[in-house]
Amino acid sequence: MTATGIGASPRRKEDFRFITGKGNYTDDINRAGQTFACFVRSPHAHATIGRIDAAAALAMPGVVAVLTGQDMADDGIGGLICGWMVHSKDGSPMKAGPHPALAQGKVRYCGDCVAVVIAESYAQAKDAAEAVAVDYHPLAAVVDAKAALGPDAPLVHDEIAHNMVFDWELGNYKETVDAFTAAAKVVSLDIVNNRLIPNAMEPRAAIGDYDSGTGIHTLYTTSQNPHVARLVLSAFIGIAPEHKLRVIAPDVGGGFGSKIFIYAEETVCVWAARRVGRPVKWTGERSESFLSDAHGRDHHTHAALALDAGGRITGLRVKTIANLGAYLSTFASSVPTYLYATLLSGQYDIPAIYAEVQGVYTHTAPVDAYRGAGRPEATFVVERIVEEAARQLGEDPAEFRRRNFIRSFPHQTPVIMAYDIGDYEASLDKAMQLIDYDGFPGRRRASEAAGKRRGIGLSTYIEACGIAPSAAVGSLGAGVGLWESAEVRVNPTGSVEVLTGSHSHGQGHETTFAQLVSERLGVPLENVEIVHGDTDKVQFGMGTYGSRSGAVGMSAIAKALDKVEAKAKKIAAHLMEAAPGDIEFKDGRFTVAGTDKSLTFPEVSLAAYVGHKFPTSEIEPGLKESAFYDPLNFTFPAGCHICEVEIDPDTGVVRIERFVAVDDFGVIINPMIVEGQVHGGIAQGIGQALLEHGIYSEDGQLLTGSFMDYTMPRAGDLPSFQLGLTTTRCPSNPLGMKGCGEAGAIAAPPAVINAITDALQIRDFAMPATPERVWRAANAVALAAE
């Protein structure tokens, strides 16, 4: 291992600009002559729109235009799309209502965009937005997904009965029914997965720019996948032909899923720029992020586990109602279906699984992928019910899990996924050792002696990353293949540029991707430049989400590097008058086997472009190769997180005393960066379990619409984390990587809730475990007596 190669932790190349204030985020960009947009948003969750009177607004200082949904329709601009087709049990396609970027005739959630005011300054646009008179006729709203299925519930889209988008199933129904009939014991649990609001620290922003000379539109936007944005905006929404639309996602301040999607605001900015003939800039305020970023989770589930007399799991049955919000966001339909139910086997050998999921419209913000996307919801179901089963059997939860682990690979689950490799016992053992599991009873006695309650909770999770084999996801309804592309350009001096379709918004790709190149070509890290986030530079890419940038994005780079190496060897062979098969390449040096002849990588790079010394009729000059990599399988990171809490029954405050995470991510490029990803994921998972909850009033007002109301985890809410690794090399990609970006957010919530229910000796506790609710639970007996 070199100091900068695979497995080393060089400090990040991208950090210098961020620690000196020289980052280049979308709001930092200004275009000559730009105007500013402010959106008029619906104050109602559900209303028809009569007249929109913009006369007063248009008369205000600096106002350039006020545009509405009718203007978009007049220009032939289509609505936003959902890119994953899901079919119901009866074979019918999901029912999706129209999703205009600016409302047409009706608003369906608080914050729905109704009009846009464009002015010389943002302050002027904001002032004038207040003066746009919209004639709303409020209608009854429904925010709860279970209620939305009721016979008298208000309809979000008039044409979609019972607000039911799909009624979907997965698994082996008959075998599952048989397993429950034959079961020695059945354990069941009702489980709620609370609605979360992503809150990347950089609010979404967009600048639309139009060059009337060339007809080229440019969109600067806070996107995790600029190429997908270009494809959707051109081919489906009809903003501009694909070759006349450039999308740039510069530095992006966190995504967590929320910046995957193609939203109304950027669609309007790029369209309006052409319409008003000047650049149009919009930067969301945090209140707008709360209202209009796609939210996460929001599931209601009933789960039942069948056990035989020996305490082995024989079946799992799950029925979930998933709140999808008022419109189907870009990948909304895939999250509670193929990204959720396919993981319901967890780490366990379960012969029969049957899952039903109803996707439901409500008058709330659209719900889509948020860090983990479906896998946290699955893991929460599995790890809560497994815990409950162990407790009902009076057994140590670790030993119950151990008995039911999958032990041979590959393992075909009843819910599509074929796990390629893993060693679940190894991570369980290591985590138990790190947290001193055996010492817990002593620590519990000490806490109790001090008037506190102490609990410990496990979460032995699995997830699927590296999304995904194109043929597999295509057969499941994905509108796009989920490969990745890369181009490796070697300059004549031997420095290297890598153009990647992955996008970095905190993950450190400029460092880890360069480490791969450095290791493979023997080039110093500082001589490698990673280029991403611009559709004019990178030909195509699927972007970054689902912890796919290592397993898929870097595999594409590895494939392109293979081609670079092969061609460089041919050139080196000519230069050294040897057979190509005799050329060896190691540590940046080409040698001829059995001789002392050698050339450095920069020498061969220069020769490739000079072209004097090899037959250019046989070998083309230049050294630049590209590759598209389509994965063979999903990857399956797995591990064990254990949380130990102490609860003060007088205040209800839950203190996390210890949090141990042992993960198997396969081969790791940069351990420092991987640890950082795990820390952040755990923090979001603990946030979900203890603090965060997106709440709507019954009439559809968002009650948690600011950082004053929605509890973000702060430094004082969290402990330092203790991490460990176990490793099984992933056989499904050339680098052996699995992915690490979401593990913490997936594993942590059940570990925390298992610890809290253990401490309080109660069966269930709905997230988030806020002090007031924990205090009530801790004092339930006393409160009942009052």
Binding site: E675, G676, G681, A715, G716
Partner: protein, 161 residues
């Protein structure tokens, strides 16, 4: 419009601004110092922290005209003579940043925190002192490590001097 003059990163600057202009807007838009960020609209997140007369201040909570005559230091003014401030160094060394958006505010807060605690900083104090700064990426683990290290390094330097 109102005239406002102040010193920003050691340079005297003046401009005519609308009275309602926030200091952060003045810095970002008039001075084009875009290192100071806006992450919320309720003075909660701390992405906008700068130093006004040597004290950490959320620049979204101050009007530009309130900084009349003051000396303002932003993240761009922290490194001196091409040399990074020890807190900047520590954030890089300990991987105290990921997306980088909260980072300028975190670093300016940390510099102020270390100044107010010459006796040194323990983990509990650092976590309590970070109440006004939100990070969504790091889980704070490495931010705490970076501030501990910077505090120790700066203390050690003073002791050596």
């Amino acid at each position: 419009m109102t005239a406002v003059s102040m010193t920003v990163n050691g340079k005297s600057v003046s401009a005519d601004v609308e009275p309602r202009t926030l200091l952060v807007e003045y810095l970002r838009e008039n001075q084009r110092l875009t290192g100071t960020h806006v992450g919320c609209d309720t003075s909660q997140c701390g992405a906008c922290v700068v130093h006004v007369d040597g004290v950490a201040v959320k620049s979204c909570t101050v009007l530009a005209v309130q900084a009349e005559g003051a000396s303002v230091v932003t993240i761009e003014g922290l490194a001196k003579d091409g040399k990074l401030h020890p807190v900047q160094e520590a954030f890089r060394e300990h991987h105290g940043l990921q997306c980088g958006f909260c980072t300028p505010g975190m670093i300016m807060t940390a510099v102020d925190m270390i100044r107010r605690h010459p006796e040194g900083l323990d983990e509990a104090t650092i976590r309590a002192e970070l109440e006004g700064n939100i990070c969504r990426c790091t889980g704070y683990h490495n931010i705490v490590r970076a501030i501990e290290a910077a505090s120790a390094a700066m203390g050690a330097k003073e002791a050596a001097a």
